[in-house]
Amino acid sequence: MKLLEYEAKAILAEHGIPVPRGSVIRSPEELAGRIGDLPPGFVLKAQVDVGGRGKAGGILMADRTNGEKIAGELFKTTIKGIPVREILVEERLAITHEYYASIAVDRSSKQALILFTESGGVDIETLAREKPDAIRKASLPLLLNRIPPFMLRNLLGSAPKELGPVIQNLYAVFLARDALLAEINPLVTTPGGPFAADAKLIIDDNALNRQGITQNRDLTERERAAEQHGFSYVELAGTIGVIGNGAGLTMATLDLIEYYHGKAANFLDVGGGADQERVMHAVRLVASDPTVKVIVVNLLGGITRCDDVARGIISAGIAQPVIVRLAGTNEEEGRKILDGRGYRMLDSMEEAVRAAVEAVQ
């Protein structure tokens, strides 16, 4: 889960990383109440989870005389389709130089990958493409609880030494918060020392529990139901409902629908060990989407038992036609349960997908 800028900065501050003075407002009137505490010039930053926020008009300069008016306008805008509900009001920094620092989970090395560059404030992907040598890298096994000093020296090069503790503390944040990415961009130097001028923190969804974080995303009713049941569910634009077990098989089912020029209405992965009740809820959930005209259930048993699946489909009792493909553990029992009850059972995923595409044409 990606945290908002002000949430990320609060965590950085807890770990001793200097962040600009600021506070969050939820209406322009709140700004009026705090204007006395603010410096003469400040920045209004829309707290929306989108990239390229500055270019999209989400970051505005203001002062004590026009702050409330500008905040009012910012609250009325949407940034790349996301309404602005919170604004971070921050002191303006006297920046002498901008750097970039990040620590991320690296799939290839299976270690933490630390990146640092003296050309901060830019899009790191662009820099990596155009000037790869400008980015310094270090890999760190998570068995180490601190960045070794030699590694910090190599990362910093001729950059000011005062940035060392910031990167060290960023690693502490990365470890303590189960981060997939902890990024400061730009990391700035000022006459008053270094500051994290912007921050990005992505927390591992599998660690939200032990981090004490609850997701508060804007969900549709069906998405919320899916989350409650622990399904991976994504709504798409088509009319063929898809239920599979396992992300790979479900994705391959969507790909096959596209191959046959059909359009999937959703992706729903019931996960491992789906029992009768979970399958019933999955079928009902997909069927509750009024755009769904037909449902393909493509299940291969591993942990999942086909007899459970068959009972789940029957107990869902929905109106749309269901095309079923079942194979795997207890396959024969599953077939027997569905036999003669009006469900279309096909042998292969290929046939099942083609039947579904034909059904909506």
Binding site: V105, K110, S232, G244, N245, G248, L249, I257, F267
Partner: protein
């Protein structure tokens, strides 16, 4: 054979849980069919002295190894304790851990995999279906009736999609040497590259199917590393960017690792890539 054979003794952690107990019985049913040793011990802290699916249960892997001869572990314990279980197996001197558990926090996986490496222990997974060498040994949860013994190696990041493709191979008369589910998480132990290296030294294996997904670049790294004839299938061509489709591994990260560009990179290395799972047998036929 790679990773294990009929003589491999297996310890299962999380043995007294529902999935652990269910799969011990399936693994040992297969072991009886092929004349292998299968699961020789279960481990569940505090439940030592019990028996599950006909297998003795011990409080720790160390206790189990005092009485039983084993070289591999299969981990079924819940996510919050699975990293610990992997490290326990590595510390006890086992050379292979297959971690079935899904939803393990990625930092736990990274620590456990690093620690296992220090102890010369290979980790398959986490979030994987394990491995199956038809006619020899099953170390995981793959359904055995879809497989057949032969000369095609299979390496996959997926679970159920692997069974689908194994089924296609079997129906086409292409038996498998070993099928390895390496796991769908962003950080996994054995990668395509590691498993391909084992296949290179395996007399049984003549060609390998790589089953990949959106996210990362492990498929390309693997393809680049080997001289073995390989064919690939990549799931997620229709996945919209920035949408999470199931596993943590299956996220498209800012264009990099999306299915189409991954397929392009594989094709540039002259790796044949199937556009449907059912096209794989024909591609493999051309290679052998």
């Amino acid at each position: 054979m790679i990773y294990g054979d009929k003589n491999t003794g297996i310890v299962v952690t999380g043995a007294t849980g529902k999935q652990g107990a269910f799969h011990i019985s399936l693994i040992n049913e297969y072991a009886r069919q092929v004349g292998g040793r299968g699961v020789v011990a279960g481990v569940s802290p505090g439940k030592g002295g019990q028996e599950v699916s006909g297998v003795p249960v011990y409080n720790s892997i160390r206790d189990a190894l005092k009485e039983q001869d084993a070289s591999a572990a299969i981990v079924f314990v819940p996510a919050f304790a699975a990293g610990d279980s992997i490290m326990e197996a590595a510390a006890a001197g086992l050379s292979l851990v297959v971690a079935i558990t899904e939803h393990i926090p990625v930092h736990d996986s990274m620590q456990a995999i690093s620690y296992a490496k220090l102890n010369d222990c290979a980790v398959i997974g986490p979030n994987c279906p394990g491995l199956l060498s038809p006619g020899e040994v099953k170390m995981g949860i793959m359904p055995v009736h879809l497989s057949s013994r032969g000369h095609i190696g299979v390496i996959s990041r997926s679970g159920t999609l692997t069974y689908e493709i194994v089924d296609q191979l079997t129906r086409a008369g292409l038996g498998q040497s070993t099928i390895v589910g390496i796991g769908g998480d962003p950080v996994i132990g054995q990668t395509f590259t590691d498993v391909l290296r084992r296949f290179e030294e395996d007399d049984q294996t003549r060609a390998v199917v790589l089953i990949g997904e959106v996210g990362g670049a492990l498929e390309e790294e693997g393809a680049r590393s080997t001289d073995l004839p390989i064919a690939a299938y990549i799931a997620g061509v229709s996945a919209p960017p920035e949408k999470r489709m199931g596993h943590a591994g299956a996220i498209i990260e800012g264009g990099e690792g999306d299915a189409r560009s991954k397929i392009e990179r594989l094709k540039a290395m002259e790796v044949p890539v199937a556009s449907r799972p059912s096209d794989i047998p024909a591609l493999i036929r051309k290679l052998i």
